[in-house]
């Protein structure tokens, strides 16, 4: 506890006789100590909660996902995506690959934790994105260990699907409606973050729509 230093002769100097009752200093201590304890305790509790979050959180996404922002480091966000149903071939823009949204076929691609062994048709896959699916794609030269690691996170989980693509900008792309994350490594911790953030996430234009009952094959 601090003691305010006073010069001798200062009427408030502790040595000064007379006016100051011994209780005054005690009263100050009684007030200051509990106040300090409360503030310190609050700080400790808050920090413990945050630290616990952080310990848990190394692989976890932010608690609140902003559907219009890049929530994961390195992620790209796309806006102004159309939603119409269209049959036949659709000319998606040259980038991004794979497409992150836009017009699509009336039939969605089944995304009940499906791992496809052949490339999908974008027109069906994009519809799955509209339903809240995270679509993981890998290039031909993607390392097998990375493919395996991602596969484990996709398999059997509703609203996730995985497929090869003939050509894309990075070994791995994780795509949700309006959001895409390019990764060199399939064991990058951001993959889990992205998957957790956007699987049936707030970016889903059509919440509640199915991941089954659509197209079964690539």
């Amino acid at each position: 506890m601090f003691r305010v230093r006073r010069r001798a002769g200062d009427p408030q100097h502790p040595q000064h006789t007379g006016v100051r009752a011994p209780g005054a200093r005690r009263r100050a201590a009684w007030l200051a100590v509990p106040a300090a304890v409360v503030v310190l305790a609050a700080g400790a509790v808050a920090s413990a909660t945050s630290a616990a979050d952080r310990v848990r959180g190394a692989d976890a996404a932010p608690e609140r996902i902003d559907p219009d922002a890049a929530n994961i480091r390195g992620e790209k966000v796309y806006r102004g995506l159309g939603r119409e149903h269209r049959s036949g071939r659709i000319a998606y823009p040259a980038r991004p690959v794979p497409p992150v949204g836009g017009p699509h076929n009336p039939v969605w691609q089944n995304a009940d934790g499906a791992v496809y062994d052949r490339p999908l048709r974008n027109e069906h896959a994009v519809h799955s994105l509209e339903h809240g699916t995270v679509w993981v794609t890998y290039a031909p030269d993607a390392p097998a260990s990375g493919v395996r690691a991602l596969r484990k996170q996709v398999e059997g989980v509703p609203y996730r699907m995985m497929s090869p693509v003939p050509k894309q900008g990075a070994p791995f792309e994780l795509t949700a409606w309006g959001h895409q994350l390019s990764l060199r490594s399939g064991t990058d911790k951001r993959a889990a973050q992205f998957l957790e953030a956007y699987t049936q996430g707030p970016q889903t234009p059509e919440a509640g729509a199915p991941a089954t009952g659509g197209r079964k094959t690539p």
């Binding site: 601090f2 009263r27 201590a29 200051a32 945050s50 608690e63 609140r64 059997g156 919440a207 009952g213």
Partner: protein, 235 residues
């Protein structure tokens, strides 16, 4: 508080405040993180776990039921399937709505952990069998391939065990969840599904008993099984 005691208390408070602030910022998470809605059940609570896992469980029942509704033979069973599909789709919507309000993700991160059950094995995970009573990919494909009476029988067998898993989960929620709305819905689920298990068990027995022909009324022109339940027209 006298001016003098303030002078002693003041610096102590300031120091304590500074230390507190330091602790707060030191513990502060990365910039993107924001807390879930105040008062929301914890991420690892039974309330959140049940809502996540039961939503997945329900969705499978809905899919099975849709198929039976369209392709099944028995009128009575198709009505039951309609009931299950409507009810469980609606309930799934309710649970996903709660998760949204609570600011919790819908993804089943640790299936059944909220019930202190072990996670699904790798094989089960691969097969989509995340919760008790769920069908594997193969079993579901088999059902979705079946038509008419074959679909009826398969549906009954699979849905009975699916419901048993559901009842187990709902019982867990009634015991462990804290939100009254969660416990209430879970109680309703387990009551309804228990009754449906009884109904389906009876129907399955009837189907087997009369040599493959479900003996419910309204089944249409169906020749009675030889040496079976006597006259046509059933009951």
């Amino acid at each position: 508080m006298t001016a003098r005691s303030l002078r002693t208390a003041g610096p102590c408070l300031v120091l304590a405040a500074l230390l507190g602030a330091l602790l707060l910022t030191a513990g502060a998470p990365a910039a993107e993180r924001a807390p879930a809605r105040a008062g929301a059940p914890a991420d690892d609570s039974a309330d959140v776990g049940f809502a996540r896992d039961m939503s997945v469980h329900h969705q499978q029942a809905v899919e099975m039921s849709f198929h039976l509704y369209r392709h099944g033979a028995s009128e009575r069973l198709r009505t039951l399937a309609y009931d299950i599909a409507q009810t469980q789709a609606t309930q799934r919507g309710m649970m996903l709505g709660w998760l949204d309000l609570w600011g919790r993700s819908a993804s089943p991160k640790h299936p059944m952990a909220w019930m202190d059950m072990p996670p699904p094995s790798d094989a089960d995970r691969r097969e989509g069998r995340l919760m008790p009573g769920m069908l594997s990919r193969g079993e579901l494909a088999q059902l979705l391939d079946a038509e008419g009476e074959k679909a009826d029988v398969l549906f009954l067998e699979r849905m009975i065990s699916h419901h048993r898993g559901g009842v187990h989960m709902a019982e867990g929620a009634v015991e462990r969840a804290e939100e009254p709305v969660v416990r209430r819905l879970a109680q309703g689920m387990l009551d309804a599904q228990k009754a449906e298990i009884d109904e389906m068990t009876h129907l399955l027995r009837t189907v087997d008993g009369s040599g493959g022909a479900p003996s419910d009324a309204g089944h249409g022109a169906h020749a009675p099984a030889p040496g079976g339940s006597g006259g046509s027209g059933g009951h």
